[in-house]
């Protein structure tokens, strides 16, 4: 029995992923002006935000986020997020850079145009290390940054939370939980009540504007 449940859960989470990506790419239905696209609640401190995060997670929501002006330690566990996969991207890119850098130098100086310099072997491994190293670092750093942009779906100038005027404080000194309407569990009243129950202040619907 449990295996069927697992399968269903897996399919559901895949559907969520696809939904998320479509929304990001702007493929999904556009927000109509006046449509409720989410709920936003303010919390007064990092500690309060962290407690709220755990409760929203336990409520079963998936399309929610906790906004703060700085990263809060322990929030990943409170939200139940899996560790970032960025490290794997960077490792792969670094390996490609390393092998590619060495191969480039071998191709250029030892194979394609054999260049004899001061009697050194054509494939002079030690002399090729510095450039190989630099290319490894370059590939890793570029992947770390652009991989991060990809995982965060940036640049994305349009998002439900930006409909709120109060949300401007999220980059200053305010702490928010937002729950988006595309979530399966989203119900305007019940979601509002949940946020109220867990101590949210200044709760507001995120209403699409023109």
């Amino acid at each position: 029995m449990s295996s069927i449940n697992d399968t269903v859960e897996e399919i559901n989470s895949k559907i969520d992923d696809v939904k998320f990506d479509l929304e990001v790419m702007g493929v999904g239905p556009e927000d109509q002006p006046g449509q409720v696209v989410g709920v936003l609640a303010e919390f007064e401190s990092p500690a309060a935000l962290m407690k709220a995060a755990a409760k929203v997670r336990d409520g079963g929501y998936k399309f929610y986020d906790c906004h703060s002006p700085f990263p809060i330690h322990g929030m990943d566990q409170a939200m139940g997020l899996k560790p970032s996969v960025l490290g794997i991207f960077v490792f792969i890119a670094g390996t490609i850079g390393c092998i590619g850098g060495m191969a480039l130098q071998w191709w250029a100086n030892a194979y394609q145009y054999k260049m004899m310099i001061s009697g050194k072997p054509l494939f002079s491994f030690p002399a090729f290390v510095p450039v190989t190293f630099e290319i490894t670092i370059l590939f890793s750093a570029l992947t770390a940054v652009f991989g991060m942009f990809h995982l965060n779906r940036l640049p994305r100038l349009h998002h439900p939370v930006f409909y709120s005027e109060n949300f401007k404080g999220a980059s200053d000194d305010k702490f928010f939980v937002s729950i988006e309407a595309i979530d399966n569990l989203f119900d305007a009243n019940r979601t509002w009540e949940l946020l109220e129950r867990i101590g949210g202040k200044n709760i507001e619907f995120l209403v699409a504007k023109k």
Partner: protein
């Protein structure tokens, strides 16, 4: 923990943000500088701007003359093929290193005090590398063939020689510049979002919206962001060590007496950090007064930097001594001769300027009073900047102008074009730095907030309450 929560000052760990500011006040303090109406900048900003701008203009004139006339306009001669251009290149690249040290290495060691100064140390890095890149860029003799530096085959199907340290240098410096820019920009994103959210006028809102790319400060973003930042710090750390190592290979891999030594890589890296921290002090002391940032760039920051100057100053002092020892111990006549000439020959004045500035002047930082006196800090930082330029001058010029054959020895003197280009490069540096102070948050707002005790989710807001 409880001492921090109750705002008692721990003498061994004083607060990194003074004045008991809230998160909102920090935002206001840093962002208000960027948001001033044009014309409301501090008076010193307006006094320095024309100097910087003149430098930018003068650089164009000097380089234009160089391209018109050729490298003969410089003081280069038959022995000294590398003159001020290389000295200036190493000087500027070295200055950059402190920025990366602060942003990457101190991050990995969890030195929280870095947050007050990292943003502008990183800016300094980028602008210093820009200035550095000018010199080898215009030194190539045939300036219409710069692509020969790139890994591309030329019209004969021939590739650059990858065994040459000069090509390693191209890779090292360009990678360093790219990674420094990426690191800086990633750090800026949350702060650009802060400026965006406070923007009152349309142009500013559009500009900072585009620059911050729609940052929402959600934890799903912070999670990947922090990972990326950590990885960048992890790759920038070996990178910064490799860059000056490779710069030192430009010298050490050749067989010129005085250059061909294995101590060069660590010696150059220590010197780079030394000169870079001196430059951070030179910039941060006036900047904290100009913009009233004394609560964020505190005496503790300055004192820590003074300690690093003392340490790295003694490291370069050790290297100077070690070079003499190895020259004697090697038993090589030329090696010994060049070092005797350095200390007593025609360039002895430069050598002893270097020793006085780099080894002697930081010794005053053994005294706590000196480490906490801005006037002393600023003066010593200027001495160190001068001394470190002379270090590169001594290394480059003494070894080249006195080669194996005494009949070809000649005293090297720079031309006005040499001197002018170098001074103009300071103008470029100042100009870029002033623009940075005006348009970007000079202190990493999000990072400063994150190290305040209130940012800890286990921090208890109640003053005087018992903390467990």
């Amino acid at each position: 923990m409880s001492a921090k929560a109750n705002h008692e000052i721990d003498p061994f760990d004083p607060p990194l943000v003074e004045g008991g500011h809230s998160f909102g006040e920090i935002t206001e303090k840093v962002c208000s500088v960027v948001e001033k109406k044009p014309g409301k900048e501090p008076i010193y900003w307006w006094l320095l701007l024309p100097i910087g701008f003149t430098g930018v203009g003068a650089l164009h004139i000097f380089l234009g003359w160089l391209f018109w006339e050729g490298t003969g306009t410089w003081g280069l001669q038959n022995q000294a093929y590398w003159g001020w251009a290389i000295v200036n290149f190493v000087f500027w690249v070295g200055i950059g290193h402190a920025g990366t040290l602060i942003s990457a290495i101190l991050y990995l060691f969890r030195q929280n005090w870095r947050t007050g100064i990292n943003r502008f140390a990183e800016a300094m890095t980028i602008f210093a590398v820009c200035c550095a890149a000018i010199f080898p860029g215009v030194h190539i003799g045939r300036p219409w063939l710069p692509y020969w530096l790139l890994p591309l085959p030329n019209q004969m199907g021939m590739w650059p020689n990858f065994r040459s340290p000069l090509l390693w240098d191209v890779f090292a410096v360009s990678t360093y510049f790219t990674v420094s820019c990426l690191f800086w920009y990633v750090g800026l994103i949350p702060d650009l979002a802060t400026v965006r959210d406070r923007a009152k006028n349309k142009i500013r809102r559009y500009a900072y919206t585009a620059l911050s790319m729609g940052w929402r400060g959600g934890n799903r973003q912070w999670q990947h962001y922090e990972k990326a930042y950590c990885i960048l710090a992890g790759v920038a750390t070996p990178l910064v060590l490799s860059v000056h190592t490779i710069v030192s290979f430009d010298f050490a891999v050749s067989i010129v007496p005085g250059w061909h030594t294995t101590i060069f890589p660590p010696y150059f890296v220590a010197g780079a950090v030394f000169s870079g921290f001196a430059m951070v002090l030179t910039l941060s002391i006036p900047a904290r007064h100009m913009y009233h940032m004394q609560d964020l760039i505190t005496m503790r920051h300055l004192e820590n930097m003074a300690k690093i100057l003392l340490l790295t100053g003694m490291l370069v002092g050790y290297a100077y001594g070690c070079e003499f020892f190895i020259a004697w111990y090697s038993g090589v006549l030329y090696e010994q001769a060049i070092f005797i000439l350095r200390a007593s020959g025609p360039y002895a004045w430069a050598y002893w300027t270097m020793v006085a500035c780099n080894v002697l002047s930081p010794q005053i930082f053994w005294f706590k009073k000196a480490r906490r006196n801005e006037f002393v800090l600023f003066t010593v930082s200027i001495f160190v900047n001068i001394g470190m330029w002379f270090e590169r001058f001594v290394i480059t010029i003494t070894s080249l102008s006195n080669d194996y054959m005494p009949s070809s020895w000649e005293y090297y003197s720079p031309t006005l074009i040499d001197i002018g280009t170098f001074i103009a490069s300071f103008g470029v540096f100042i100009f870029l730095f002033l623009l940075f102070l005006r348009f970007l948050p000079m202190i990493a707002i999000a990072e400063v907030k994150a190290i305040m005790p209130e940012a800890d989710p286990h921090h208890h807001a109640g003053h005087g309450k018992d903390d467990h």
